[in-house]
Symmetry: C2
Subunit: 174 residues, 2 copies
């Protein structure tokens, strides 16, 4: 299965695509960042990111999409933009009938490093090892997006099947 992970952000939105399955080797398909500058108006930034996410989905054709769950207790100034970007990611997935799942940062850290409180360096190091890369993907948002995709693959079959059934039912209802 191919999973596209999205680490939502207004300045840097990390995107990482991984192929794999439970008990099978993982392969990185693509990794990158959709960037916007604070000089643009908020609506223009969100539109650029929305189009960027859509372009990534359409180019890599993932079976599932994993988005980092945003919490309101995070930094007040950045959390609104992050929430808005996560909403755009959810809509981009749902409008294409692709099952989408939210994972918390600690779920992702626990899946990839075995420690839900791992720091960015540990996550980056494990992503590099698991995907057999020559160097850690930069910036951290890109590595985090790959970690999200890996987390989703490993959390596995049961959750994914439920999500797929829900997405299909919703699609049939439209």
């Amino acid at each position: 299965m191919r999973v596209l992970g999205i680490d939502p952000g207004l300045t840097r939105c990390g995107i990482g695509v991984v192929d794999g399955g439970i008990g099978r080797p993982l392969t990185m398909v693509e990794v990158g960042v959709v960037k916007t500058t604070p000089e643009l108006q908020i609506e223009e930034r969100l539109l650029l990111i929305s189009r960027g996410i859509e372009a990534w989905i359409d180019a890599t054709e993932p079976d599932a999409i994993a988005v980092e769950r945003v919490f309101a207790q995070a930094n007040v100034r950045t959390v609104m933009g992050t929430a808005q970007v996560s909403g755009l990611a959810l809509v981009a997935a749902c409008s294409r009938g692709i099952p989408v799942t939210l994972h918390t940062p600690s779920e992702v850290k626990a899946a990839v490093t075995g420690n839900g409180r791992a720091d960015k360096a540990q996550v980056g190091a494990m992503v590099t090892r698991l995907l057999r890369l020559d160097e850690t993907p930069k910036p951290a948002d890109a590595a985090d997006a790959l970690a999200l995709a890996i987390c989703h693959i490993w959390r596995g079959a049961a959750t994914n099947r439920i999500q797929a059934a829900v997405a299909q039912a919703a699609g049939a209802g439209r």
Copy 2:
């Protein structure tokens, strides 16, 4: 000028369309609410609201769109959904080249009632009077959306011209 106001929300997203200008009478064009139920998955709710907002814009062809600015200090559970819906509204406007402006709740209350701390009943009463309606639009989200549109018309020409220039420049750059 015709303004479409959006009071973002996941359960009830208020939408109100008003024609008017500075020193001219105001006329309500249309008012309503895009609703979704909490039984649906979050991605399905956001997609339905996004499509609802787009349908309203395409049907009423506003010259400008006004969206209520969301603050992170509000209720933690609802603020994330509200932020996500406001992001969808901004993208729907920007992708159509329609200038979009955020107004804070107190700007809207001050514009419509003269008091930045007015309650919902006062806002509803003034909206009803200003638009010469027989009764106050329900639910409050619908009345708030009309208040946003009125606020935008009255805050007026200077702001709108700046926004239009920005939107045009952004559109030209795409």
